[in-house]
Symmetry: C2
Subunit: 340 residues, 2 copies
């Protein structure tokens, strides 16, 4: 599995992946000199281009759709960049479409498969369980990525998935805080009707509290507002402002997305609540900003790049090989920084 | 021009724009109830769907490509979301492709036009002037968005553009700092060979210094590293660390992108340099984070949403109407916050 990827070739050559792809496929839009330089580097590194990319001419129909729920979350940006490179590597184009919180991604997917010649679909985030029956109508292979809960009413062998175990990771994050002696841990969860990652992380939070002998207090659970159920700076900021205004006692905040944690830290700062002295803050995701914000953010780091490349890998296994659908679960790691 | 947009209809109905589009186009993948509810709201609000969207069936070839240079910059994310909604509104699909810093976007565009049936292209960021001759080979209409410099070797009537005047805005940002009495203003610019927005903002910086009677000092100009010429938290952080390590005296930093300003503030914090007391920090763009970071960031706010919808508007004027190519320049506004 120590294979050289097209991204590594591109990096070594100082060009983009699509340029490497053009060199391999003898595309007209590349200078002879650049092509030779890239082919030289490919030989040096021992990169083996994907068979399908060499043997199949890219045609109009070779599209992979990526449906993203949660556009405002930078967590998905890094994943999309990796997936796009893989998709180009395999000789396909990426059609990106955002799905609004109120939309059912299965509807969007069905619309796309009818309107365009799609070969496969990647669902990134979202996937409410209400979509189960509709997903059965999707006739191209699909992978569900970073969605913790298994799909209801869809057989495991009919789709692939990549995720962390969100209940376990939510437990890990909360236990980290209880181990530090925090007893009044507020959680900024997903929407109240969330049946996906937000709900699972909340479940892990409850289990960790129970193990630490701390009574669960509903007043410490803050859901996303119904009218704007997105993980965002603003929603983290507003939730923290309300928590402070309520007079609810708290000594830690666990936000189930880094962006909400950053927004929460801003609200604490404005009220002169010292982090981590008066209140510890824990995020979830491991976005780049968690390292650069002030204070820097302790968070559960998901292996973003690996999860992204496994997502496309699973899709191409089914699409191009005789691979079967599989379900991969990765482990998050707590990165301790200044906020706790 | 006070027309209701599809986004406003979607918001009023609590659904996504593609759902509204399905209701209008009598698409099968929408429940009768939801369709009626949306059509009712359309009548109420007086929304007039775009003619082309009603009269033309969406076919495989109706793609608009958006080529983004600078994936790590959240500034583009908000623009993409607005543009995507407009593109769907007009009955097209959006093909998003990222362009690596080392790639020539004209090459990427030419590749796409040959491989897929594209109707139009939006270039977001980037566009080195070296691409001039190649752009002449692009046979579909295109709009160049948020690129300050006019394209060389392309006639004005052959493309549209949307931007701010980056020289004027760079001057404005710098003048704001000199008016506050800052004399040793470091600038975190684009790449050293940048001929686009980075270079123009630097030019504005020089003019403002000169007007304030401050001698230009090359030691205060920090360019992006050649090996990773992207506006990013990391590059802002590293530039500030080096500036501090150098022993170069400075009392302000003007970063030509908000993400770099946020990274710079982190480096100042780590060295106990007080913001704004010891060093003022000014950003550029007006990304959402500028409001939520600590300290909050003074920045030149570009009218992100307006610029995005004008970008697609110009494209559709040419594509669907008998509109001519036009060049729109918007004004940035300084938003003063805690960092200055």
């Amino acid at each position: 599995m120590e294979q050289i990827t097209i991204r590594e070739v591109a990096k070594a050559c100082g060009v983009g992946v699509s340029t490497v792809s053009r060199a391999i496929n003898d595309h007209p839009n590349i200078s002879e000199e650049k092509k030779q330089r890239i082919l030289q580097k490919i030989a040096e590194l021992g990169y083996v281009p994907n068979n399908s990319a060499r043997n199949l001419k890219r045609t109009e129909g070779r599209n992979i759709a990526v449906l993203v729920k949660g556009m405002t979350n930078p967590f998905f940006n890094d994943m999309i960049k990796v997936m796009e490179a893989d998709i180009i590597d395999h000789g396909y184009s990426m059609v990106l479409q955002h799905v609004d919180p109120s939309e059912d991604e299965a509807d969007v997917a069905l619309g796309l498969t009818k309107e365009k010649r799609l070969c496969g679909i990647i669902f990134l985030g979202g996937i409410a369980t209400r979509t189960g029956e509709k997903l059965a109508n999707i006739k191209v292979p699909y992978v569900v990525s970073t969605v913790g809960a298994p799909l209801r009413k869809v057989r495991e062998k009919d789709y692939s998935s990549v995720s962390v175990d969100d209940e376990v990771e939510g437990h890990k994050a909360t236990k980290f805080l209880t181990d530090k002696g925090r007893r009044r841990i507020a959680i900024f969860a997903g929407a109240a009707n969330d049946t996906s990652v937000g709900m699972l992380r909340l479940k892990g939070y409850k289990r960790a509290l129970s193990e630490a002998g701390i009574a669960f207090d509903e007043a410490l659970v803050r859901y996303l507002p119904d009218e704007d159920p997105e993980y965002s700076y603003e929603n983290g900021y507003l939730a923290a402002k309300r928590l402070i205004a309520d007079g609810t006692e708290f000594d830690a905040i666990f936000a189930v997305a880094d962006v909400m944690a950053v927004g929460a830290m801003r609200a604490l700062y404005e009220k002169n609540i010292s982090i981590p002295h008066d209140c510890s803050v824990m995020g979830f995701d491991g976005i780049e900003l968690s390292e650069y914000c002030t204070p820097s953010l302790t968070t559960v780091v998901q292996p973003i790049k690996t999860m992204a490349s496994e997502t496309t890998g699973l899709l191409f296994d089914v699409l191009e090989g005789d691979g079967e659908h599989r379900h991969l679960v990765f482990e998050g790691k707590i990165k301790e920084r200044e906020s706790t």
